[in-house]
């Protein structure tokens, strides 16, 4: 029967199962609403600049600045999702690739060596450089599994920033590299005069491109190979998958995306310093992937947005909000609380609590992949009923199958 599947007679049975999965209608609508929202996000800003409306003070450039940085971290989360979410390789040093990507751009497109390679070329060049580093780091280590790989990547995550710190002739050492070029289209410079709006759109564009690529990879031969390795590496090898190659691809592509993100981030910030790429950044990105929903593109992106805004906006503003609230409402307990507790000391405590609560109540992440949902909330009862039925039908089914085949010309 395997041969007949290839023969032209049965080719028409494709209608039985439309091959590449089509996105469902509801997810299309959500995606549509979301993209309109994201595209319109800077409009209040524009109206305010034009003097048409007055915005609250908080809603100024800083907001879109954070939005543009969020875009960079979304790219990072998408990249790490390939490594952790798809291939199941726990990488605790992902910030190392982010650092290499950012520095690649900062070195080749700044006044440090007076090299000014255009941003668009550097997007690809940084991607290639980080992918190469991914392969170089990966080749000796990917034979390790689980915890061991995590420790080794943790090591890389520590080594790379130290290297950057000490290679001061190349990287500027502790001073970092200032005056990193902004992207330019012809004579128009994106982000000139701290214009965050165009940067924000550039970020959206890059994310859309990356999502497009990953989405296609996931349902391909390589995507399936990654998932098979995540599930059972030995069985995957026995099924004909060259696990080393597949893992190197995951590592390399994940790293390449951090090169993308690094180039974007470096050009937005206009600055690269070794302190930006600590272990806590690796953990931050990993949290985005896990909290958002490992293996689910939408989940991972939402995770990136939520965590980045939580860390950079909510937790920092939180004490001010409380003290404002105490002033406005004049409630005794709030005033007392505000006088006796210095909330700024507790931001990381609150952050931790939020993470723990999340994992307790939504272990599959904000938006889980169907796969994870089925894994954590199995609907096995339904299928076992069906199976009990099937047990008694199997002889008949096999019989009728051969009948059907026999009747085919």
């Amino acid at each position: 029967m395997q041969r007949t599947a290839n023969s032209p007679q049965t080719a028409g049975s494709g209608s039985l199962f439309p091959a590449p999965k089509k996105a469902s209608r509801s997810s299309m609508i959500v995606a549509g609403v979301l993209s309109v929202f994201l595209l319109l996000l800077p409009v209040p800003q524009l109206l305010s600049e034009a003097g048409i409306v007055r915005l609250p003070i908080r809603f100024d450039q800083a907001f879109l600045n954070a939005a543009a940085d969020t875009a960079a971290f979304t790219l990072l989360a998408l990249g790490l999702n390939i490594v952790v979410g798809y291939a199941g390789l726990l990488d605790l040093g992902y910030a190392a690739f982010f650092a290499i990507g950012t520095y690649s751009y900062a070195i080749l497109a700044s006044s440090l060596f007076d090299l000014h390679v255009p941003f668009w070329i550097m997007l690809i060049v940084s991607g290639i450089i980080t992918a190469l580093f991914g392969v170089v780091f990966g080749a000796p280590t990917l034979r390790l599994r689980g915890d061991y790989l995590a420790i080794v990547t943790l090591g890389f995550g520590e080594i790379v920033p130290i290297f950057i710190l000490n290679l001061d002739q190349l990287t500027g050492g502790t001073n970092g590299i200032a005056g990193v070029d902004k992207p330019a289209i012809g004579s128009i410079i994106i982000g000139a005069n701290n214009d965050n709006i165009s940067f924000y759109y550039l970020g959206l564009l890059l994310i859309a491109l990356v999502v497009f690529i990953i989405n296609r990879l996931r349902d391909s031969r390589m995507g399936r190979a990654w998932m098979a390795i995540r599930e059972d590496e030995l069985a995957a090898a026995t099924m004909g998958i060259n696990t080393t190659t597949a893992k190197l691809w995951a590592f390399g592509l994940g790293a390449a995306l951090s090169g993308f993100a690094g180039t974007f981030y470096g050009s937005h910030l206009g600055f690269a310093s070794p302190g930006q790429f600590s272990f806590s950044q690796s953990v931050l990105i990993l949290c985005m992937v896990i909290l958002g929903g490992m293996g689910n593109l939408w989940g991972v992106m939402l995770g990136a947005v939520v965590i980045y805004l939580l860390q950079t906006v909510v937790l920092i503003q939180f004490p001010t909000w409380i003290s404002n609230l105490a002033k406005d409402t004049d409630l005794d307990f709030l005033v007392n609380f505000n006088q006796n507790v210095r909330l700024t000391d507790y931001t990381f405590f609150i952050y931790g609590i939020i993470l723990v609560l999340f994992m307790l109540f939504r272990p599959e992440g904000l938006i889980s992949s169907r796969r994870r949902k089925l894994e954590l909330h199995p609907e096995s009862e339904k299928i076992s009923d069906q199976e009990r039925q099937d047990l008694y039908d199997v002889r008949e089914t096999n019989q009728s199958d051969t009948d059907v085949k026999g009747s085919q010309p």
Binding site: A5, G14, E387
Partner: protein
Amino acid sequence: MSEAHRAAATAPARSSSADGAYVLSAQGITMRFGGLVAVNNVDFDIPRGGIVSIIGPNGAGKTTFFNTITGLYKPTSGRMIFEGRDITGTSPSDITALGIARTFQNIRLFANMTALENVLVGQHSRLRSSVLSSVLRTAKMREEEVRAREKGIEILRTVGLSYAAEELAKNLPYGAQRRLEIARALGSDPKLLLLDEPTAGMNPFETSDLIQFIRDLRTRLSLSILLIEHDMKVVMGLSERITVLDYGQKIAEGSPAEVRANPRVIEAYLGRAATITG
């Protein structure tokens, strides 16, 4: 028609190889783990198109021997000849590509992938799409995907699981998981199929179904099949030749009737098994 197809494909190997009657020949395979000799100087042949079994008490080295065939272990000494080609020390993925597929004693499905995806992974070595062509979704890649999925559904249908194509493997009941393992192995168009205790944990009804199914497979796909099995009903009913291992040594070989009558086998295996089950 499929037999003719396959025979044509394998014809050159058959004529060029001196021992063309055998799809696989193990020559003096020894597998040593430190001081433990798990498999000791075993010679073993699988006739083309045959169903042969390896039996033996627990710890006799059956699964170890399987693992040396599929490349998970590199034998300490000896040669493994498949289709006239020395495959000793070849990687598991390359061995699968050459045409050997297997199932596992303890089910090792890709638990969080659907049944169809499991079979698609089984087809991995037969698919050609590169990463780049997948990103670009070339016409060739799309066509290959459609064909692979059709074939996957077809294989699932033969094991009676087409209704569960979109179900996660882990949510399938035990018997269905066993059948899915066989389906996944069939995805790679094997010439030789290794089944490691395929009926373990099955009820008598499922077992007799599986016996019939394995027979059908052999004729329909002109497969050669190697079986490790504890259920004597399955072994005796299905195999044309039986090899008995005990403490890593081959102690007997022959037809079911010969093996059943062999005093060494009765002593080493059947006698002991009889006292346990009796």
